[in-house]
Amino acid sequence: MSRMQNAVIASVKTALGWVPAQWLPGGTPDPLIGRSAAIGRQDNRLDGPAKVGGLARFSAEVPLQRLSYAALVYSSIVRGRITRLDTAAAEATPGVILVMTHRNMPRIGLVPLIGVTDLSAVGNSSLPILQDATIRYNGQVVAAVVAETQEQADHAASLIEIDYAAEPGKTRFEEAKTDARTPASILIEKNHVSVGNAERELAAAAHRVDNVYRTPGQNHNAIELHAVTVAWDGDSLVVHDTIQMVASSAKALAKLFGLKKDKVRVLSPFVGGGFGGKGLWDHQVVAVAAAKLAGRPLRLVLSREGVYRIVGGRSPSEQRVALGADADGRFTAIVHTGYSIMPPHGACPEQYSLCTRALYRSKSFEILQRHLDLDIVPNTYMRAPGEAIGTFAVECAVDELAHEMGIDPIELRRRNEPDRHPIHGSPFSQRALIQAYEQGAARFGWVRRQAEPGTLRDGEWRIGLGCASGSFPYARMPGANVRLTLRSDGSATIASSAQEMGMGTATVQVQHAADRLGLPVEAIGFELGDSALPAGPMAGGSSQTVSLAAAIMAASEKLTAELLRLAGNDSPLAGLRAGDVRLLDGGIGAIEDPSRHESYRSILARAARDEIVVDAAGSAPLEMLKFAMHSSSAIFCEVRVSDVTGEIRVERMLGSFDCGTILNPKTAASQFRGGMIMGLGLALTEETLFDERSGRIMNATLADYHIPVHLDVPEIEVMWTGIADPRSPLGARGIGEIGITGVGAAIANAVFNATGKRVRELPITLDKLL
């Protein structure tokens, strides 16, 4: 992101500051807020039976005639050139159809990096893919083998002989600091924030903490491996993928392979877990090219190791957080600076400083992120990129300051709760973090916590309680399109290329459409996961639900206008304008006079229409720029730590969320819990072992890369304020990522409360407590 972008966004924000709120999206609260029927119900996921019954077909399961199978070979050095590449033995192996290397891979351009400026750009890495003999990171794809069976492909891949001329690579975090870059912006925020003189305030503060926090690299481990099944038919291409950005990946592949946009179709009806990792990476491009060369449909399923080699994860970070407070505990200084990795060929800035801008008010701020360039597979978006680790640092620091001052950490937060956005000064659209704390604390039994660490014990186990705030910004994506079809039998279908990653996309939008259209949920269908449908938003940034909701809202407005036109003068609706009516009870009714109502069936029958089809796009998400819109949470946990071994067991966790309207309590609770479990892994177990000598990930297996197992996961209770956001569609904000934020700090704070030991480097393993 550039200085230019900073200037543009700043001027738009300034201009919007003068625009009355009523003129903007969300200016008038969505009329569905407070009068919903299906929304807010405890509904099972519509795709549940198909998944439980094994009927849902994932991208690695699509049957095709004459299907071939591919296996990849990855570089084992970090930097250099291939000097010898012997594929003869592989090619001579039974069943092998093709070996593809940089020598015979079609010449293609670079994948444009995903960003805020070009919404069709979708790449996670802009490095060339099998285009030359240069090695740019350890794990890079150097060859693909296509064979009649997966086993034949795997075996042949092991027979390819490669010699390298190795060169030194940039692999060391510490050394890379010398050449750290300071980007002008972090996503759509200006990077460097300097309000007042934070260092001076810090030095003069009555109370202060000033520490460095370290978080390790982490890798994506969705249950479903990255997999693609590809078929060419002449110059048209069908890609069965598992991807979080169906529409834009189809566009990107078309551009890359020189095809017309309508010649590429990406299908992804189900994604078996995404978390930010299921984007466009090298394997889709290699599979498309290899299928072309082989002249056969082709399937490429990455091994678990393959996912580690060529799909990026969360960047490691080193963050300094300093807090200064006056005698009453009011913050006079907040400093949050640090380093993370973002090579120039990567797209994700690991925005750990964004949470710090919204959490607390303070007399002064100094916020700055620096980027390191290493020769690695670029890090990418991984559930709450930035916020997951940023809240660890900041929320540990708050706990440390509270301990230093001898006050309750919730009370310290209450004293610094902002009433406007602390940096921009814009009003919050809605914020009830303190209420979330109060309700959570009561339910959790926070009064049991003893301020003095190490007070509570049970045999060899010390018991500690901790809490922390989570934070995640609201986002709504521009360019979300849907098609709404209303049929004469009173049923309706919504279609959009949108993604279903297991969170209940179709389920909640069907609930939404039922309320929006005044139809029962049984009358609504939702089609998604197909680039042939109107281009939906990507599933990322916890934004898909509201982005689709805004598009459905727009479609229902168009539909209303169309229905009124068709109803004509022979209808009880005659003379009413769009603003006078609402959709309810299977038709249109006057807001002021319930007796003036006509059903869809009746209107369509009289007009002799089988159906009405409207295409619509969500409005520009200007509400994001006028208002400070954030979800927040209060996370509580209780841990036990063994005096003997240092082992940590999380006994229970509670998440109290303030995320606007909760559309479906069941799917929402699952999202919150899943995020909190991932946060437990972030706190205690997950760590990519990146060997800085070789630039190689050493624990590329689920045996050696530790995610929490069932026995590590305790009872998790979730609750929410449920207060609607008056500025967003349905009053909802995203909930996919907030769950992981704050959890790392809540656990670290509980460990401190149990032991008196402050671990500032994740994961908190037992050896750090001995």
């Binding site: 092991s158 071994t645 177990t685 070789s694 045996a703 197992v709 037992l766």
Partner: protein, 326 residues
Amino acid sequence: MNPVTYHRAASVAQALESSAAPGHRLLGGGTNLVDLMRKGIERPTGLIDVTQLSETIALAEDGSLLVGAAARNSAVAAHPLVRSRTPMLARAILAGASAQVRNMATIGGNLMQRTRCLYFQDEAGSRCNKRDPGSGCDAYGGFNRYHAVIGGSPACIAVHPSDMCVALAAFDARVRVAGASGTRAIALVDFHRLPGDRPDLETLLEPGEVIEAVEIPAFAGPSAYRKVRDRASYAFALVSVAAGLVIEEGRVADIRIAFGGIAPKPWRAFRAEAALRGAAVTQAAIDAAMAAEFADAAPLPGNAFKIDLAGRTLSALLAELSGSDR
């Protein structure tokens, strides 16, 4: 994975005959060997499936427990004789792997499983003297938190990953091995070799020999197993301790201590046992015993904590066994 031939042995004699062929390996549950074949670390040309051989669990005439090599881990852990006579062995087995893996894995295979060293496991990108003798060891200077603090050599510091073998070492178990010239018994504590300058040689098993059974002598006192690891299940030990204790008149009459996760083999702590035998179980006595045991230890910055951890865990376990709350 390379193409392999597959034969199922119906008897020990058949297994002996077919395993004598070059490039052939015996296959138990396959939970380790097949993984290593997929990674290109093991490249046998033929597999002899020995899961049809004895899976009997029974008492021998001398009172020891005899467990056939083909017995599945889960079957051993669930067997009434094991649970009543050596519950600690059942605990150790259940502390390992996952339920699914234990259902497949065999006792014989467990003895033969190979290290989880990350550099050993990375055929494509790392140097390893065990995998490729003389190539060097990337674990030194790399990630060696899981590596040996004692018993290693400049060539290799990889640890033996088994939980079960730690319990067997403590119980003086013997491995009954059949060969062309008859059968022999090898004490479990001798069965695994220290790496020295030949880390590729891991056991005393000669080519062509077949593990028939494991004999576990009775132990009179209470015993216990405690495994310390990075998550609550499905993780290898950072440190594990198998201990048995008989106290008579306040003094140690018999004691067994074996450690896992700290050495290239299941580490029977003979020196510590000798130091404690005849003594009262006090923290000072345990500290002295641990100092004696680890006098030759060679910890690295990444794993030095394990000596302290082993002592703490042993201390807690002995307290548990002696019924005191020390």
